[in-house]
């Protein structure tokens, strides 16, 4: 038998899962070397969505960088904004008022639910279970409607501001959110009924994409990728920010580090997010939503008077608007627990109103780098499962 195998000449097939492909969740390009159905080597190519956000940030004031951060992980905008605002607040030494902190926590957790819903829907869709997609997007529509009610935008919100949030939430929002949290646990059960104990689902996710705890730590994984392998590290518990220190929640941790464990982690996180939102709604303190020292964005009177705003006047005045006696000079790394993992902002300031350097530590960037390791030696169909489990958004990966 071995002799016959040697005489059989086979060639490897190089397959390009191009930037445009239904399953690559954005413009990710994978070059796969296949031996039959087995992947011998997998090379990811990223950078198709590189927009130079870090370079742009060096030329805008701190407040003007905020809309850029919306577009990082474009399906979890509130957390990106909250992370950036937190970093700038820590750098400037401003503290957001309590109500703003609670609102930011609520919004972040709603975003976590929304992002995990997209993950679940697309992951199941790729593996063939189409119905989960349509059931779960019902809930997401509800959440996006609530976002729109508050700040006018469903996706690119720019709602958390440096020093708090842009405006207060309405009674209607709170009622709508309360009703959502009442119903959501039952909906999660519904999704789980469809796939959780299904034999085909288990066969396609158990034992696939296994990552041990040491490997996960060594490769810089974060979020459910790390927790699925058994390492209990959640930035919300380690370095509590906003209102996370005041609420009770558990951090689900997996055991084996395979696709199924990460799936269970994220499903459990949906429930915990619901719990956090409920507690925040109950404890929401009254008060202002923007700190007094927050950088102001009023359009100066002269610019507003003109029919066509004079852009040069606008730029000059924004940078003069708040004379900080100190935009302090220094550097700061501030991380939050985004739905995808640990999102970090490293800001270096030289005393100007524009950041000298803004570095975005994106979890998706690190997670895509582990794809070659996860896919090598496994079947083509597992590549799809692996792409789904790392839960990447290319906007964040490429910045």
């Amino acid at each position: 038998m071995p002799n016959e195998a040697k005489r059989f000449k086979t060639k490897e097939l190089t397959l390009n899962m191009g930037p445009q492909h239904p399953a690559t969740h954005g413009v990710l390009r994978l070059v796969l070397d296949l031996d039959g159905e087995t992947v011998v080597k997998c090379t990811p190519h990223v950078g198709y969505l590189h927009r130079g956000i870090e370079k742009l940030a060096e030329n805008r004031t701190y407040t003007a960088v905020l809309p850029l951060t919306d577009r990082l992980d474009y399906i979890s905008n509130m957390t990106n904004n909250a992370g950036y605002c937190l970093a700038v607040e820590r750098l400037f030494g401003i503290e957001a008022p309590a109500r703003a902190k609670y609102i930011r926590t609520i919004m972040s957790e709603m975003t976590r639910i929304s992002s995990h819903i997209i993950w679940l829907a697309t992951h199941a869709l790729d593996l063939g279970a189409m119905t989960v997609f349509l059931y779960s997007f019902r809930e997401r529509e509800g959440l996006l409607d609530l976002f729109e009610m508050t700040c006018g935008a469903r996706l690119t919100v720019s709602y958390p501001r440096i020093g708090g949030v842009r405006c207060d939430v309405s009674r209607e929002f709170l009622d709508g959110l309360y009703a959502f949290t009442e119903e959501f646990p039952r909906r999660i059960d519904e999704y789980e009924t469809l796939i959780d104990k299904n034999r085909i689902w288990l066969q396609r996710t158990k034992g696939i994409g296994v990552l041990t705890a040491e490997e996960a730590i060594n490769w810089g994984m974060s979020g459910p990728m790390l927790r699925g392998s058994g390492v209990s590290y959640d930035v919300r518990k380690d370095v509590p920010y906003d209102a996370y220190g005041d609420v009770d929640f558990d951090v689900p941790v997996g055991a084996n580090g395979d696709v199924y464990d990460r799936y269970r982690c994220r499903m459990e996180e949906l429930r915990q997010s619901n719990r956090i939102i409920r507690q925040c709604l109950d404890k929401l303190p009254p008060g202002p939503v923007l700190a007094d020292e927050a950088p102001d964005l009023d359009m100066p009177f002269e610019a507003a008077k003109k029919q066509v705003p004079d852009m040069s006047l606008l730029h000059a005045s924004i940078s003069l608007v708040k004379e900080y006696d100190a935009v302090p000079e220094g550097e700061l790394y501030s991380a939050i627990e985004a739905p995808k993992g640990e999102l970090g902002f490293y800001l270096v300031s030289d005393g100007n109103t524009r950041p000298f350097r803004m570095r975005v530590r994106a979890p998706s960037f690190v997670h895509v780098s582990i794809l070659p390791k996860l896919c090598a030696g496994h079947l083509l169909a597992d590549v799809i499962a692996n792409i789904g489990t790392i839960d990447v958004v290319l906007g964040e990966c490429d910045r």
Binding site: G47, H50, G52, E54, I217, P328, E331, Y333, Y346
Partner: protein
């Protein structure tokens, strides 16, 4: 351990190489020399009192005109065992724009170093596969350097991929229905 303690411990162990320690908003930065940077980072990962097993971030900095050496590579290290953090900066001069790679200590440094090379032009000696990651493979120049323009009006130096697309669009426009 508190960041200040880590910094002072480092200074005692490697006094010749620790150039500066700075503290700001509760976070400590230690600047060490390039010569033994890889060795010191390895010790930070391996010594049980430090155990920095998690590389949070690795990025580059460009201080054109502000200070010499021009570049710096910044490492953010975190220990999951002891739950402490430190920031290490290693200056890299423009003439000798290379530094030892730490891929064998933390595998996650792989793509961070590629990005640093891509956007700043800092070569990482010992990296298994140093090539551009975010920009196209045949891009000229290092975009995140301070002397690289924000708005691209590169004229002659424009990326051939873009000029090809513009040319093809002009050729195909003769098929347009007017």
């Amino acid at each position: 351990m508190e960041p200040k303690q880590i910094a002072s411990r480092l200074q005692r162990a490697f006094s010749a190489d620790v150039e500066k320690i700075r503290e700001f908003r509760g976070q400590t930065t230690v600047t060490i020399g390039k010569r033994r940077s890889r060795e010191i980072l390895g010790h930070l990962a391996a010594w049980p009192e430090f155990s920095f097993d998690y590389l949070e971030d690795l990025c580059g900095m460009d201080y054109l005109g502000k200070k010499e050496p021009r570049f710096e590579v910044v490492y953010h290290l975190h220990s999951l065992k002891h739950r402490h953090t430190i920031r290490i900066r290693v200056p890299v001069s423009e003439d000798d724009c290379a530094i030892d790679s730490v891929v064998d200590i933390w595998a996650g440094a792989d793509w961070h170093e590629r990005e640093c090379y891509d956007l700043f032009g800092i070569t990482f000696v010992g990296h298994p596969d140093l090539r551009r990651i975010l920009m196209p493979e045949d891009w000229q120049g290092y975009p995140l350097r301070k002397d690289y323009p924000v708005q691209s009006d590169l004229g002659e130096r424009e990326w051939p991929g873009f000029t090809d697309v513009v040319k093809t669009a002009e050729e195909n426009s003769r098929y347009e229905v007017r």
